[in-house]
Symmetry: C2
């Protein structure tokens, strides 16, 4: 990990030769080295996590945002985020790994269900992305079913599930919904990732409750991709894809608002990847 094979600052003092020349791995020598090591001899950097939590509510794809109550970028909408706890301190225990940090900052905003899809999106570290200092931010994407309204949290004036279509990924400068820092870019990357992963993975079920209808599943695709799909062919294709969904044997409560047959309920199947994939370019 870490400094790998080279890297300035990666070693302290001259190399400790132990008579083996080119140097094969020696566990005793390593133990002596670590006993002498000073962890504060390195140039520090601030590391944060930002979470793009996506859901679908009322047919619209939405992202969890909070309006910043403090400087910098006070008043702007921003992704939930926070510093990674590198070690235990007054604020609490250390985050064992980066996903723990992501879930920690997210649960400050909203309760989470037992099953949640969390994946790393990417890391953003441009030198000018935060006006205060060099900050390197690891972004995560969360896909969740429709959740209760969020609470605002300590540094947030308000928090809400905002339709991402209102944000104009990357553009939207000067609008009411302009995002703080480079969060518009991070959101744009998350949306593109989600759109693309619906094609070749079974991820769409992460947006739904444990039991759902094929029509609800189609609603996920239509909301995320932004266009309608052929209902009959979609239905058949889902059922023909091994492991995508499993029949629960139950039926949904009622048909559509103005009548209609009651739909069968399915649960997510075991498959992670779809063979064959669903392609986006279909009507």
């Amino acid at each position: 990990m870490s400094e790998g094979i080279d890297g300035e600052g990666a070693t302290q003092g001259p190399p400790r030769e132990t008579g083996q020349g080119a140097g094969w791995y020696d566990a005793d020598d390593e133990r002596r080295f670590l006993a002498d090591y000073d962890p504060n001899a390195f140039a520090p950097a601030a590391v944060t996590v930002d979470v793009v939590a996506l859901t679908i509510r009322a047919g619209l794809p939405r992202v969890l945002l909070g309006r910043r109550a403090r400087q910098p970028q006070r008043g702007r909408w921003a992704l939930p985020g926070g510093f990674v706890r590198a070690r235990a301190g007054s604020a609490g225990p250390a985050d064992p790994d980066l996903p723990d940090a992501a879930l920690r900052v997210l649960t400050e905003k909203t309760p989470l269900p037992a099953e949640i899809h969390l994946e790393q999106l990417g890391t953003y570290g441009a030198i000018d992305r935060d006006p205060r200092m060099r900050v390197i931010s690891v972004a995560y994407m969360v896909l969740a079913p429709d959740l209760p309204d969020p609470h605002s949290g300590r540094d947030t004036a308000e928090a809400a599930w905002v339709p991402w279509t209102a944000l104009g990924h990357g553009e939207g400068a000067g609008t009411e919904h302009e995002l703080a820092f480079d969060h518009a870019r991070i959101l744009g990357d998350a949306v593109e990732r989600a759109r693309s992963k619906l094609e070749y993975t079974a991820l769409a079920t992460a947006f739904l409750p444990p039991a759902f209808t094929i029509t609800a599943l189609r609603g996920v695709y239509e909301a995320v991709w932004g266009h309608t799909l052929h209902a009959a062919n979609f239905h058949r294709k889902i059922l023909a894809t091994p492991g995508f969904v499993e029949d629960t044997g139950e039926l949904a409560e009622r048909g559509g608002a103005g009548g209609g047959r009651r739909a069968r309920l399915y649960r997510a199947g075991g498959a992670a990847l779809l063979h064959p994939p669903l392609l986006r370019g279909s009507p």
Copy 2:
């Protein structure tokens, strides 16, 4: 970016209210805030980059590794890596962005051609991944054509393009080629990413020189995927995929070793994504 909307340590002192209540964005207030800001009030973390540079040489897929000349993990093979330069200092100027840091540590090992594919793989930050301290490492993947032998560099006893099949991604514990830290996991993630991206992107050409034959392109797929492909159908499919390759009008120097027709030379086309994709499951 950075601390997003919440995050402990994200603010210093009480919020500065300016009489606007819920707080809309105010550029003047932000300017005053930044003038007072102390960048050293944060818990630091070490941030590094590690680079998985992949190529194909003599029909084998290979990764650039160096043998560590210093503790910790002295004698083990490791990925090229180094600390991100958060700000300018005695070691040199700051890295403007993370990809700059990745290219910097890579050019310490090998000269690079003009065109190079660099993409971020992911960030690794488990609390125990480095025995010295909490280190968060941003991993990059580079795909390169066959390059000259690498130079060893300051902290490296030797450097080489090692066939990744000899490394057993993630396993290989106790073998001569066991990797340092969590580099086996990072390499495994890179290999899986490369295998998967060959399916639906035109990335295979990144492993080849500017002009190449369809057979050489097939060799890339066969090396990375680890099985042979049907030559005739592969040929046709490549040419049928719009924008994958363009005919140069030239022919390769000679046919195969023991005779054979001279192959046409192609260059990479403009397309980034393949429609339709090439699927891995084909003989």
